[in-house]
Every structure is written in C-alpha cells, then in structure tokens.
C-alpha cells in the first residue's frame, strides 16, 4: 500500500480526465448538450462508491473469519470513503438534474415534486442512509470486539441491500434517469467510443483516488490501535 506508482497513476488519469473530459469531442444530444461531460465525474462517483463498498464488505467477511481487528479497520475506512463518494454523486446528480430534468416553464416546486419521485434518487437515498446507520451503530458499541463483530455483520446486510435499492428497484419503475433498461454507461447504445476513451480511465482514476484516501485513514488507525493489533 505504500508504493507510489498507483498514486501517480491515479493523479495522471484524473488530470487526463479533467483535460480530455472538458475538451474532447462529445456526442451532440438534445437537452443534455455539454452536460453530457458530467458522465466523467458524476457517474464515476457511483462506480467508485460501488467498488469501495465491495472492498469494505470483503474486509468485513475477512474479519468475521479471522477475528483480526486489522480487517475491521479496513472495512470501516473503505465504507466511509464509499459514503463520501455516494454523497458527492448525489450532490452532483442534484445539480445535473436541476438543469436537465427540471422544466424551466414550471414553478420550481412542481419540478422538484417530479424529480423527488425518481426511484433512483429514493433508492440511493435509502442505501446511503443504511450505510450512515452503519457508522452510528459502530460508534454506539464501546466494546472493541463486539463493535467489530456487530458492524461487520451489519456491513454485509448494508451491502446486500444495495442490490434491491440501487440495482433492481430503479430498473423496475419508470424513470427519467438513463440506463434503466440495462447497465448505464456500459452498454454500447448509451455512450459511444469517443466517450469510452475518457470514461474508463476516469473510473479507474477516481477509484484509485478513493483507495488512496482510505489507505491514509487505514494507516493512521493502524498506528493508533498499534497495541491492540496482532
């Protein structure tokens, strides 16, 4: 984890994402216009969030198998960065939706009522709240081993709940959000080759940045809990 090459790779990929994401050619689509470039930023947040949550749940399972507190620290820190990415995805989606989904001819309240009904917004809202409850649950137990065990079990539940709330239910209901019919940003009708060139490096770059931040917090916590760790 202390190697430098992947951190440099992450920064290079993100510099490329920002430059290419703003300057390269993109498909001309009505309503979306230039905001289609948000794909490199908003969608990447959700991709990275999902990857970070997978790392978190894997470490939770590892903790339950070995009872080694190291895995519990890893699990917790990856979950926190995942939540931050989720909140950023939510916030950027909010800005994007208010310029593409909201009808400027209607009063703001009417547009809000339409957007707030979005199954994807409600689903991700629930998923993020469940992960927020993970942090509350953790900090409410004072015994270290009990805290680690309860929160690892809860982490698995929270991860399992991601599937109905963000993968299944939004696909069953009518929605303004693109990608309801398949895998958003992965099928060939959604984004063309020009965008793929930037999108995949962007996902990798943002994910590595999240891993970097999480690894810093993990190392700090390893130092703090030095006496307790095996």
């Amino acid at each position: 984890m202390n190697k430098w090459w992947w951190k440099i790779l992450s920064v290079c990929l993100l510099i490329y994402t920002i430059i290419a994401g703003l300057l390269f050619d993109v498909p001309k689509v009505m309503i979306l216009n230039e905001t289609i470039r948000n794909l490199y930023f908003h969608v990447c947040m959700w991709f990275s969030m999902m990857i970070l949550f997978i790392v978190s749940v894997v470490n939770a399972v590892k903790y339950l198998r070995t009872n080694n507190l190291r895995y519990d620290i890893l699990s917790r820190q990856y979950a926190v960065v995942g939540i931050v990415y989720g909140l950023l995805g939510y916030a950027t989606g909010m800005i994007w939706a208010s310029y593409t989904w909201a009808d400027p001819n209607n009063p703001a309240g009417a547009s809000f009522a339409a957007i707030a009904r979005e199954p994807k917004l409600i689903g991700t809202g629930i998923a993020l709240l469940i992960y927020a409850a993970y942090l509350v649950l953790r900090d409410s137990v004072s015994d270290l081993d009990k805290k680690a065990r309860i929160s690892s079990v809860y982490n698995i539940f929270a991860f399992a709940f991601l599937f109905p709330s963000i993968w299944i239910i939004p696909r069953l209901l009518p929605s303004l959000h693109p990608g309801g019919e398949g895998n958003p940003a992965l099928n060939y009708n959604d984004i063309d080759a020009r965008m793929r060139v930037v999108f995949y490096p962007a996902v990798l770059g943002w994910t590595l940045l999240g891993v970097w931040i999480a690894s810093l917090k993990v190392r700090l916590n390893f130092l703090k809990e030095k006496t307790l760790l095996k």
Binding site: K7, I8, V11, I18, L23, R219, L223
Partner: protein, 69 residues
C-alpha cells in the same frame, strides 16, 4: 522528485495545446481562444493540484509516523 515529475507531465500537456494552435499571424494565445474553456480547465486543474499536494503531504507525514514507531 515526484512533484517535479507531475509538474513536467502537466507542462507537457499545456505545450501540446499551444503547438496545436498554429496559423500564421494568430495573435490570441490558447487561454484567450474561442469559448475560453481552457480557463475553466486551468481552474479545475489548479484546485485538483491543491488537493493532490495536500494528500501527498498527509501521506508523507503518516509514513514518517510509521517509521518512528
């Protein structure tokens, strides 16, 4: 060393854009061209560079702490 490497990569990119301009008596430089989108790119890159430098410093501090213990 790492900072210099990153800076070198950054400068390489800016170089590319000035080179792509061309034309005989073109007076306007890149940052003033058409929609001035390059200014936005520069602003975002500056913010991003700040965040990355902050992360690198944090990383170094933690590495130092790890070596002490």
């Amino acid at each position: 060393m790492k900072h210099k490497l990153l800076l070198a990569i950054l400068l390489l990119f800016t170089n590319l854009y000035t080179w792509a301009q061309g034309g005989p008596a073109e007076m306007a430089d890149v940052m003033r061209s058409n929609g001035k989108i390059y200014v936005v790119v520069a602003v975002i890159l500056t913010i991003f560079a700040g965040i990355v430098i902050y992360l690198i410093r944090l990383d170094r501090k933690i590495t130092k702490l790890e070596k002490q213990s």
